[in-house]
């Protein structure tokens, strides 16, 4: 299996990532909740979500949002991209019928030791232009073909 790989030299401050869009269904929400072992009813029971949480429908849970953001970032970096840190700020929920729109921008590129550097990004998830979740991410990239961030351990790994 082959996959394209991004290197540190390929990223620049201000660079934008390809936009990603996805039409959310009830299945998306429920599958995501079950995949993250989240049995809380607001992620699968519309009546509970409406009458207990006061939301319009069931909504995507936090761990599954993390999985969507990881997928978005590593679609861009390729398999040697190794996530170091992600901070999510949730402003609103994502419901069935929404189209998720993800956009990322590189905010910093940091040369590092041990054959890897770091790219810092902001990623925003919007629905119809309304901000739902923003994320600040830090991800390690190889500097050359021979480098591999996944091999960094202990003090050499500085997420």
């Amino acid at each position: 299996m082959t996959a394209s790989q991004l290197f540190l030299v390929d990223s620049t401050i201000g660079q934008t990532l390809p936009v990603f869009e996805y039409d959310v269904t009830a299945t998306t929400v429920v599958l995501g909740a079950m995949a993250s072992r989240d049995w809380r009813p607001m992620h699968h029971d519309k009546d509970f979500a409406q009458h207990r949480n006061g939301t319009r429908d069931i909504f995507i849970n936090t761990p599954n949002q993390a999985a969507w953001f990881e997928r978005y970032l590593t679609d861009w970096t390729g398999p040697k991209g190794r996530l170091g840190r992600v901070k999510f700020t949730m402003k609103g929920s994502v419901f069935p019928g929404d189209t998720m729109h993800l956009e990322g921008t590189v905010t910093d590129v940091i040369d590092g030791d041990d054959g890897c550097g770091w790219v810092e990004l902001t990623v925003v998830l919007t629905v119809d232009g309304e901000l739902k979740t923003s994320a600040a991410a830090r991800i390690a990239l190889p500097k050359t073909e021979n480098d591999n961030p996944w091999l960094l351990r202990g003090d050499a790994w500085r997420p």
């Binding site: 082959t2 993250s36 049995w39 006061g54 761990p63 997928r71 190794r82 996530l83 992600v86 997420p159």
Partner: protein
């Protein structure tokens, strides 16, 4: 059925010590390591694939065992799955009450009698990769608790909880902090 889970002995004892003062009780819980536990099951391939499928993640690192061996020394789980490995089964033989992940969050809801809650912020820091067969252990601690706040959802308190994850070798595999808002909806 109550909206709240029973308070654990640690919290009921502190509540008695502080003569029913809920804020003083929560303050006494700051930085206290709680709920150290070992995952109910080892990191397994099926859940990795289910998670990948739920977001249509085709990263070959997680689908191609040869590539996983070459890059990571074996099959690893997507880092974002870190909290999955300590979330309890929805049922288990002999369990008498619902087991909830992030129990400190539910204790705070019960302590302050706030029936609803959402998470507003979540920071995850990833360390040693999580590998097939790993059994993770975890503990939680309360980092901060706010004064009473009113938002568009209702009136309640914000709190920050840290969750630390280690593998069976004692290696740190990650940590998370969650900001929750427990609240009562406006009448």
């Amino acid at each position: 059925m109550s909206d709240f889970t029973p308070l654990p002995p640690l919290v009921t004892d502190l509540l008695a010590e502080h003569k029913g003062d809920t804020l003083a009780t929560a303050t006494a819980l700051l930085d206290v390591e709680q709920y150290r536990s070992v995952g109910e099951f080892p990191v397994e391939q099926g859940y990795i694939w289910t998670s990948l499928a739920s977001v249509e993640n085709g990263n070959p690192l997680f689908w191609d065992p040869e590539l996983a061996q070459e890059l990571a020394g074996g099959v690893i789980a997507p880092p974002s799955m870190i909290s999955v490995w300590f979330r309890p089964h929805s049922w288990a033989p002999g369990r008498e009450q619902e087991a909830l992940p992030l129990q400190v969050h539910f204790d705070l809801k019960a302590l302050f009698q706030l029936p609803e809650a959402i998470m507003t912020d979540n920071t995850i820091i990833f360390h040693e990769p999580v590998r097939l067969g790993d059994v993770l252990s975890t503990f939680q601690r309360l980092i901060s608790i706010s004064e009473v706040k009113t938002t568009k959802l209702g009136t309640g308190r914000f709190w920050v909880i840290e969750v630390v994850y280690e593998n069976q070798h004692g290696d740190l595999v990650g940590s998370e902090s969650y900001t929750g808002f427990g609240y009562k909806r406006e009448a």
